[in-house]
């Protein structure tokens, strides 16, 4: 297997991971697509040696069809995932006007409560303050 295939995989993974870190959902979706392709190339590159297409009637050394079947399935699944992510991004856009992932409100409230307790000492427990 050639070194170039692995270079390609590395580039696809790097680009995909970078895009996954973005806050914008459209870029996350693109990242999923790119990283998915990276995985597909990885399976093809490591899974089988080059050869003739594995079809009845072909002569010579045939390539192993199983990794190709795996990759075909992975492509179909990736297609569905990408569609779903795009729908999510579209929905997010209709609600908030952008396609960015928001913060978790409940999580921030807990943090604030903890800070409050720290500041005020152990006497007024937040539960008692609120009831």
């Amino acid at each position: 297997m050639s070194i170039w295939a692995f270079a390609l995989i590395a580039v696809l993974f790097a680009v995909g991971s970078y895009l996954l870190m973005e806050r914008s959902l459209t870029r996350v979706a693109l990242g999923v697509g790119v990283i998915g392709n990276g995985v597909n190339v990885l399976i093809i590159a490591s899974g089988s040696d080059a050869g003739e297409a594995p079809i009845i009637g072909r002569e010579g050394v045939l390539a192993d069809p199983l990794p190709q079947a795996l990759v075909l399935t992975a492509i179909v699944i990736g297609f569905a995932l990408l569609t779903f992510l795009m729908t999510l991004a579209w929905r997010n856009w209709t609600i908030t006007g952008n396609d960015e992932v928001e913060d978790d409100v409940e999580d921030r409230m807990i943090t604030r409560r903890a800070e409050q307790t720290e500041k005020l000492g152990d006497v007024p427990h937040p539960e008692d303050v609120q009831t």
Partner: protein, 494 residues
């Protein structure tokens, strides 16, 4: 018997397809129940057969010979988990129908729910790694849709985190499958153990770690759990009940397969440390939370820790305890989420600030909460006590005193946080903010209440039948540890 193995996957899928054509809500409900009950009947038939004969039922799709066929394998562990999963999904469906929420009225709810059931059954029955990956994708895709079906702001936000993290998990999993195929030339569970054993140590460890990370994200173990308490609470109650009860357990099931079949006994110290820290972190998170759904979500993590700990100890006793824990935990956790769903439906909130005095308003609801809550905390004579007792015994016999100590402390802390819900929601005056103060909470939500009661009854049955069930778990664990038997069962299947 082997021809029945595939039916718990096929029947729900056919039902899902049918319901995309038939879009009448009442017809959809009827089809869903019929599909679940008939799958349950076939799964029970397989379980009874496996129980009586001690054999492993194998079905070859397509009737191809050798390692060409896609195999479905139903050994003791798989068959019992499929039955438990179908019981839980059927009762949750009854609950969802009674809930009268907009998402159940959507024409997509029932088809997607059936796809989820098919994915869960397939994951338990899969006889090769790639089939397992496909099963994961089926159930994950269904869970994405169920989680975001209402499409409101909060669901989209948490849904995004959930979807992206699970996609990363899928990427790691498919990478692991691809690399394992590259290293060994097969993905079949029956061929893999021998070929993996022949690999060099470094390669073996790398592949093992990839699988552990993929399934660890799914099972929400210690460093990889943060998506769970964020996403489950925003799902509709019926969906989060199924997710809480079943989805993480699919991850645990896969970890069991990895640790017993593919990489028997390897990296068990790592697994044990992960299990112990998952227990502790999960319960500490639960104590700091102030919303019922979030407390319960953190409890899932903590309980997963127990199972992973048992798996890390290894050996017939501890693995039997883990299997028993798994069987007990699925209905208990689901019924807690269902009780929470009734509370949320009745009062309009799941925050402990807004809800109080439920014990006076509805004593029966209090009982329905108390039984699974005490079971989760490990009170005798409930099933949780037996599960924890078995696990502690396994830990002591393996001389893992630190882990056992942590397990006991965590069990006490679980009780503390359950008391927090009890004091906050059930004691005290009836809150003025409750939407509905006329009393008779359960009478208003008859089918939700009966679904919850059925499930709580199921947990009691597990406690009563603990003797034979534990014996079965022991046999299932012997079966798991006897890899040769699995291989020969798959190879000799016709």
């Amino acid at each position: 018997m082997s021809s029945l193995v595939a039916l718990p996957i096929l029947i729900p899928l056919v039902a899902a397809a049918l319901m995309l054509v038939v879009r009448n809500l009442f017809a959809q409900r009827a089809i869903s129940f019929a599909a679940l009950l008939s799958s349950l009947a076939t799964a029970t038939a397989v379980l009874v057969d496996v129980w009586n004969t001690g054999d492993i039922a194998v079905s070859r799709l397509g009737g191809w010979p050798g390692s060409f066929a896609i195999t479905l394998v139903s050994d003791g562990l798989s068959s019992v988990l499929v039955v438990v999963a179908l019981v839980v999904t059927a009762t949750v469906l009854l609950f969802a129908v009674g809930q009268q929420t907009p998402d159940e009225h959507s024409p997509y709810y029932h088809p997607v729910y059936m796809a989820l059931v098919a994915g869960i059954s397939q994951a338990f029955l899969a006889g090769d790694l790639f089939n397992l990956f496909v099963a994961f994708e089926v159930l994950l895709m269904a869970s994405y849709v169920l989680l975001t079906l209402e499409g409101n702001r909060e669901q989209i936000r948490s849904g995004t985190t959930y979807v992206v993290l699970n996609i990363i998990e899928s990427v790691v999993l498919v990478m692991a499958v691809g690399l394992i195929f590259a290293a060994t030339g097969t993905v079949s569970f029956a061929e893999l153990p021998e070929r993996i054993a022949a690999l060099p140590d470094g390669v073996r460890m790398g592949l093992h770690l990839l699988l552990l990370i993929a399934f660890g994200i799914k099972a929400a173990v210690f460093p990889l759990f943060s998506w769970l308490p964020d996403s489950y609470p925003t799902a509709p109650s019926s969906a989060s009940a199924v997710f809480a009860g079943l989805l993480t357990k699919v991850g645990v099931y896969c970890l069991i397969r990895v640790q017993t079949l593919l990489f028997p006994g390897e990296l068990s110290n790592l697994v044990m440390v992960v299990g112990v820290s998952t227990m502790a972190i999960g319960v500490l998170g639960a104590i700091s939370q102030h919303d019922m759904k979030r407390i319960l979500s953190f409890h899932i993590i903590s309980q997963i820790g127990y199972m992973v700990f048992g798996l890390g100890i290894g050996g017939a006793v501890a693995i039997a305890a883990t299997i028993f824990y798994l069987i007990h935990h699925i209905p208990v956790k689901t019924s807690l989420f269902l009780v929470e769903g009734i509370i949320e439906r009745n009062t309009g909130s799941s925050s402990l600030d807004d809800v109080s005095g439920l014990a006076r308003k509805s004593p029966l609801l209090a009982v329905l909460f108390l039984i699974p809550a005490m079971s989760l905390a490990g009170f005798p004579p409930l099933s949780g006590f037996l599960a924890k007792f078995a696990l502690v015994r396994g830990g002591l016999s393996a001389e893992q005193y630190i882990g056992v100590g942590v397990a006991i402390v965590v069990s006490l802390l679980t009780l503390v946080s359950m008391v927090k819900i009890w004091v906050g929601a059930f004691w005290g005056e009836v809150a003025p903010s409750s939407l509905n103060n006329s009393g008779g909470v359960l009478r208003q939500h008859r089918s939700m209440a009966s679904a919850t009661a059925i499930l709580v009854g199921f947990t009691l049955v597990i406690a009563v039948a603990a003797g034979p069930l534990y014996e079965f778990a022991t046999r299932a664990s012997d079966q798991l540890l006897d890899i040769e038997r699995y291989i020969s069962a798959v190879r000799s299947a016709s």
